[in-house]
């Protein structure tokens, strides 16, 4: 997965901001969202991100998996993130 051409991500104290510069829309997220964005920037897969978060947080793996999936789906639906062609 990769961020779309016009997506810019910046880490902030509260979490992160995602700026879709073509549509000029700004999205914000909390610290966990920011962590997922950082891992996406490092080209980690959703499965790898889930594994990483499960090792760091006490929530159930199923809940974390669901949250990661929902978050990534949100990013894709907003055209902020693209699935790789291959």
């Amino acid at each position: 997965m990769r961020f779309a051409e016009h997506t810019r991500v910046r880490q902030e104290k509260f979490g992160a901001v995602v700026f879709e510069t073509l549509k000029e829309k700004v999205f914000v997220t909390n610290e966990i969202g920011a962590k997922i964005l950082r891992l996406l920037e490092q080209h980690q897969t959703p499965e790898e991100i889930t594994t990483q978060l499960v090792s760091e947080y006490d929530d159930s793996p199923d809940l974390i998996k669901k949250d990661v999936q929902e978050f990534i789906t949100d990013l894709i639906n907003q055209s902020l993130l693209k699935k790789d062609d291959r």
Binding site: R10, F14, V18, T21, L22, K25, V26, I32, G33, L75
Partner: protein, 330 residues
């Protein structure tokens, strides 16, 4: 321009990131690179024409660019004057694009030929925004004095040909407001990405020429109706965007919710917002983090709040917007 649309994975009310002071640095910089301009538009907000004697040097400009990259400013719009008259325009653009900063250029288009259009394309500009204030040469050239409608339209064609995301911006006046619909149709036929407009702001030369230029309320009513219809007509095909509020409504809103953006003028001074005369920082004296801190504090100053309320009650004070007043910010 910039708004919170969706809070990914966070559904609580008023999460962090909702107000400008939550951010470590601006999200957007509007950078008036130079005051020099080859045109003498009757409605120019910046009253551009000649260079300022104290504009930033090339070295100061590049130092600012480095700070933009360091603080991960996502998006910068470079305007002027006419930015393509600035000798460092492409050096700046190359540097910022190399570091993934999204860039928009706001230009009158006169200096864009096929080769320049290809340079924009190669650099991957987010967009190039060209001012086209009319669908007929005579209307356009009456308002944009010294301008050349055909050259401007050709510039748009070259940009589209080169694959540059091209936008047209249109300022309605008494001279051209009746051409709005026709211009949107032309914009679409040219393969332009988006058409942007809104009420003319009573600042700069527009304020001085207000009685000659300002459309009537009835004309504005028809204008917004045309825009609504065209927006529906081109839905999914071309972006037709219009800002429905006037500058006073904008100021009322910004007094409560300042934007997460700064406006840099050619001499490196940082304005609080275009329609107000206040300077809150100076790039020659302040680093970007300090600029951002000063910007946030400045919005709270009684001097700013009182004057803004006065402007809202007496729009003629907007004439002061380019008579800068330096604020004392600690």
């Amino acid at each position: 321009m910039i708004e919170n649309e969706l809070r990914l994975s966070e559904k609580q009310s008023l999460p962090k990131g909702s107000i400008f002071s939550d951010y470590q640095a601006p999200l957007f910089i509007a950078w008036q690179l130079n005051a020099d301009c080859n045109l003498n538009c009757l409605h120019c907000c910046e009253e551009a024409g000649h260079s300022m004697p104290d504009e930033l040097t090339s070295q100061e400009i590049m130092d600012f660019c480095q700070q933009i990259v360091q603080w991960k400013i996502p998006y910068v719009a470079i305007s002027g004057g006419e930015p393509l008259l600035h000798p460092d325009f492409f050096t700046i653009s190359e540097f910022l694009r190399k570091h993934q900063v999204a860039l928009k250029a706001e230009t009158n288009g006169v200096f864009i030929d096929r080769e320049v259009a290809r340079r924009f394309a190669k650099l991957g500009f987010r967009s190039v925004q060209v001012s086209v204030d009319g669908v007929k040469p005579e209307t356009f050239e009456k308002l944009r004095q010294g301008g050349d409608w055909q050259k401007t339209i050709d510039a748009c064609k070259y940009l589209v040909e080169a694959g540059v995301n091209t936008e047209i911006v249109f300022v309605p006046t008494r001279f051209n407001i009746h051409e709005t619909g026709e211009l949107i149709d032309l914009t679409y036929r040219m393969g332009i990405y988006g058409f942007y407009t809104g009420k003319m702001m009573q600042i700069g030369r527009a304020a001085h020429n207000w009685n000659v230029l300002s459309p009537s309320e009835q004309e504005y009513e028809r204008f917004f109706k045309v825009l609504q219809d065209k927006q529906a007509q081109y839905d999914g095909k071309m972006k037709v965007y219009y800002y429905p509020y006037d500058v006073l409504e904008e100021l009322k809103y910004r007094l409560e919710y300042p934007s997460a953006s700064i406006l840099v003028i050619p001499n490196g001074k940082v304005k609080l917002i275009g329609p107000l005369p206040f300077i809150c920082a100076d790039l020659r004296k302040h680093r970007l983090t300090d600029v951002w801190r000063r910007y946030q504090k400045a919005w709270q100053l009684p001097q700013v709040r009182t004057f803004t309320k006065q402007v809202i009650n007496d729009p003629s004070l907007l004439r002061e917007s380019n008579r800068w007043q330096e604020l004392s910010v600690n």
